[in-house]
Symmetry: C3
Subunit: 106 residues, 3 copies
């Protein structure tokens, strides 16, 4: 059993949720936000069998897109000094696959 | 040290939180939602010693119940085509026990 | 690759977010709440290289502070019977470093 923790852009989160259901992967959704742009994004938790990890990652790759954002000075409140609007490429998805020692359903 | 990640139904979350305090397990609560029914549920993070994992799981098992929900077509917005209301059994709790390489309190 | 999961008090969360950007650590923020005091707190997910973990922990340690709270009976709704207000020291940060089997960016 592994736990896939995937951070995606809000714009892709409904499509990704639909795609998980279609491929029969169970998932849980968390509303999160980015450390740099402070914009809202979505984090999915997907517990799956070891041999399903690559398929889960394929579904995520297919449904998420990188986008260019124009970040204005007030969006970057986190200590990054910018005076001009800055072009930032926000990736499609960031995925961490974490080992699971024990899995229980009650 | 292990981290127990437990997804439970909203209806059980206050009882489970109380039960963690009573058994002196420290916990953090996240408001989450299900991938299939899109209903709100609750995810707990419980960091505990290796030898406490089974006790933490016992507390979770005792406080969470499976329930039958009648899912209507609009609830299942995630690509699962249903025309008739569908009986869905939502489990009591889904638990992932994850290894912790390092634990620090500041 | 490791995933640092750090629970900090709300009061420290903006400073910590700024400090992550300044030291070029990428992070994702979750609004969470404590199991005991039920107050809002913040959980950060920081994926970093194995050799960066100690630096990430140093940044967290520097930006978070322990505080004394006076907990009144209604704050502790979770089964801890108190009749008098109770002095509670809420720590600066609770950090779990979790191993990552696979990391992917799409
Ligand atoms: N210090 C810095 N200097 C210059 N540019 C910076 C920067 N930090 C971030 N960026 C840029 O801003 C985009 C949005 O970052 P944000 O932190 O808001 O939103 C992030 C964050 O929520 C999450 N994330 C990315 N890497 C992470 C990691 N290692 N650990 C935890 N969360 C991560 O995924 C979202 C998208 O990240 P992505 O890398 O695709 O896209 C990033 C990146 O292109
Ligand atoms: N492997 C996993 N990884 C991450 N999170 C997981 C997970 N397995 C379950 N969860 C989480 O736990 C909630 C309850 O799942 P359960 O399997 O008991 O109860 C499920 C199950 O009985 C049913 N269900 C879920 N997906 C289905 C599908 N593709 N086809 C038919 N029934 C489905 O609907 C109920 C509610 O599902 P929902 O997604 O709204 O809510 C799920 C989801 O948030
Ligand atoms: N092992 C763990 N796993 C997951 N999350 C953890 C954790 N240890 C701590 N946390 C999280 O960190 C917050 C601060 O914990 P701390 O131990 O510094 O500060 C705690 C502690 O000093 C005290 N406390 C907690 N549980 C207690 C209990 N059963 N009896 C007496 N005091 C308690 O109340 C403060 C606030 O606790 P609260 O639960 O509201 O908020 C907690 C909780 O959200």
């Amino acid at each position: 059993m592994k736990l896939v923790i995937a951070i995606v852009q809000k714009e892709d989160s409904n499509n990704l949720q639909r795609a998980f259901v279609k491929s029969n992967f169970r998932a849980t959704k968390l509303a999160t936000s980015g450390g740099f742009l402070s914009q809202g994004n979505t984090t999915f938790l997907v517990g799956c069998k070891d041999e399903e990890v690559d398929d889960v990652l394929k579904v995520i790759k297919k449904e998420s897109r990188a986008r260019e954002e124009i970040a204005t000075p007030h969006m970057i409140s986190t200590g990054y000094e910018i005076t001009q609007p800055l072009k930032v490429t926000v990736g499609g998805a960031i995925c961490f696959v974490v080992p699971v020692d024990k899995f229980k359903r009650f």
